[in-house]
Structure formats: structure tokens, C-alpha cells
Symmetry: C2
DNA sequence: TGATTTACCGACCGATCGGGCGGTTAATGG
DNA sequence: CCATTAACCGCCCGATCGGTCGGTAAATCA
């Protein structure tokens, strides 16, 4: 039910999708839908939480693990790609939230917290000499996850195994496009 | 007037923004607004066209210029970042279009055409040995512009000169994050 | 100056939205 | 077997939406 709603939210947009649309796609009436969920916003909240929980699991592992920050940063990129691929539709919805309601602003706050963790990790990796120090850590973190998050725009399960894509992204992020 | 509408579309979302909101932000009534524009969709069309025109100028320059494809690809990245920074709000709106109406689908088609140009350029750069050949050109193009397009999420005019950001992005894309 | 055009407004319309209410059928458990 | 509960539905509501219409004030031009 949540999956059906999220799919519609992503294709038509959250505001452009009516609760009637959601109910219809499930073969039930709007009344029945409201018997199971408390409202439209609850569907959104459940979806973005599922996305954020996945991302924070990856982030906490990157913070918790031992070893060089540079390695943990690369692992975080890989793990994030896997989460994106696995929970593609939930993350897609998350990344489109604009912060109009209290629930959406809560999601934005959690996203900023995630960004902070990545930025810190970049800073540590720079300090230990694994990452070039001539770029602002916050900018690097944003560009890095700009690349990762772009998966929601083009990744399809039939377009290669998630592990393969994750490797490509992490590799490109660290070694760049240039031929060596 | 277009600028005011686009600003609202970006902060509240296109569907969540009413024509009353747009009129109010201009200090006029909805009727007056309709005296100047034919409808809500026209505002969207004008905005995304301004974004697409800028991007295609950059793409056509990259195709037209002489010299190595590798250099032209890097130039295209730089130029695209400059367009993003210059027309930030228009591009922001463009990148959020979902394709619900005919006008939006036309915008999506132009975006795909842009992607095709980038992919071709990556392919050429690989053929001449300037770009590593172990990544799928389409994937590389998408990740590259995932990074570039992420600017709409975080770039603010006071956050460094556009030329500086453009250099950082192009540099990171080609040489990666790793310390050398 | 008089006529025409341009900018502007208030009031209104049909459609659609999120959500609620009262009641009915189907499953479940003692 | 009967009572309780869960799943389901038709119908309705107030609010809001994009857009229209008839008319007025201000600017423009002959």
C-alpha cells in the first residue's frame, strides 16, 4: 500500500497525486484507504523515514568502523549507493521533499545531519592525507552526494547490479574520469 | 513577474503554488496576473526554456569548438556550472519537472537530448584516450551531471564565485578526490 | 480633446481536493 | 452460534484551485 502510494507520488508528484489516485491504483475506495492510513502526510512520513533510516545505518557504520577515514568515506559512498538502489522509490521521494510541512522539515533536518556526518568524514580524510586538501570539505561532500543521489534520476534495476554501480561511483569519485 | 513565480514554484513546489500566491507576491490581483500571462503552465514553460536555452548554448559550443574531446568535455562541465549558477532558479525548476503535461514532456525530451550530447562527448574522449575506458559513457555522463546539477540544492551566490566552483567541479570530475 | 488601448479589479464558476460519517459485509474468536 | 472486530463502501462537506467575465481607472495617441 505504501509502495503503491510512493510509486504514484514519484511519477506524478506528491501534490499532484490525490488520495483517490492512490486508492484507485490499489483497487479500493478512498474510504477504505483512510481506514488503513491516517492521512496523506502519514504516507509521506513513512516513506521518507524508510529512506532516512537506510542512509543513517550506512552513515553510522562509517562513523563506527575502525580504519582510515579515507577508506570509511569510500565505503560510505558504496553503501549509500546500495541503499539508493535498494530503496530507490523511498529515497526518490525523500530527495524531492521541499519542507512545506512540519514533517517535511523534520526530514530536511535529518538530511542536513547526514550531510554533516559526510563533511566530517571528508575533513578527517583530508587530515590523514588520503584526500586532497585543496577543496572545501562541505563542497566536496555535496558534490560527492550530488553524484550519488543522481541515481534516483536514472538508475533502473535492469541497468547493472547495484554492487557494480556502487564500485563505479566510488571509483570515479576518488580517481576521477581521466585516463591514467 | 516570471522571476517571482519561479521563486515561489521552487520554494513551495509548482503544484503547491497557486496563482493567487504568485499574484499576491507581486502586490496585484489574480485577474491582473491573468491579464499578463495566459496561464500557470506558460510561466513554467518560459522558465524551463530559459534554463534549457542556456544549457544548449554550452552544449553547442562544446560540439562546435575544435580541439580534443577531452578538453571540450571539461569545458562543457565548467560552462554548465556557470549556467546553473547564473540561471539557478530556472534550472532548479527545470530539474524538478516530472513530465505530467505536454509542455513538461517537451522539456524532458530536450533534457534527454542534452544527455545524449554529453554521452557522445564522453565516448569521443574515451576513443582519443583522454578518459578512462572502463566506465560506460552513459553512466559517466549521468554521474558527471548528477554532480553538476546538485548545485541547485546547495549553491548560493555568496558561497564563492561561480568560476571558482566551476573549476572545482571540473577538476574533481577529472582527477577525483584522492590525494596525489 | 476625444477615442482607443492597456492595466487593473471584484465577483464568480466548475472541478477537484483531503477528509469524515453512517452503514454494510466478511472474518474471527469464545 | 453469536458477538465483536476489521475491511470495506457510497455519499457528502468545506476549502481551494485555475481560470473567466464585466466593468473601471489610467495611460497613450490621433
Amino acid at each position: 500500500m505504501l509502495a503503491a502510494a510512493v510509486r504514484l507520488f514519484n511519477t506524478r508528484g506528491y501534490d499532484a497525486t490525490s488520495m483517490f489516485d492512490v486508492a484507485e491504483s490499489l483497487g479500493i475506495t478512498k474510504s477504505t484507504l483512510y481506514h488503513h492510513v491516517s492521512g496523506k502526510e502519514q504516507l509521506l512520513t513513512m516513506a521518507v523515514d524508510r529512506a532516512l533510516d537506510g542512509l543513517f545505518e550506512a552513515a553510522e557504520a562509517a562513523v563506527r568502523d575502525e580504519g582510515a577515514a579515507t577508506v570509511r568515506l569510500k565505503d560510505l559512498i558504496r553503501r549509500s549507493v546500495l541503499v539508493l538502489a535498494d530503496r530507490l522509490e523511498f529515497v526518490t521521494l525523500l530527495l524531492r521533499v521541499r519542507g512545506n510541512t512540519a514533517a517535511e522539515q523534520h526530514a530536511l533536518a535529518r538530511r542536513r545531519e547526514f550531510d554533516r556526518i559526510v563533511t566530517d568524514l571528508v575533513k578527517q580524510a583530508q587530515a590523514e592525507g588520503g584526500v586532497r586538501a585543496d577543496v572545501d570539505p562541505a563542497t566536496a561532500a555535496r558534490l560527492l552526494f550530488g553524484m550519488v543521489n543522481s541515481l534516483i534520476e536514472w538508475y533502473r534495476p535492469d541497468r547493472g547490479a547495484p554492487e557494480s554501480i556502487a564500485g563505479t561511483v566510488a571509483d570515479l569519485a576518488f580517481d576521477g574520469l581521466r585516463h591514467r
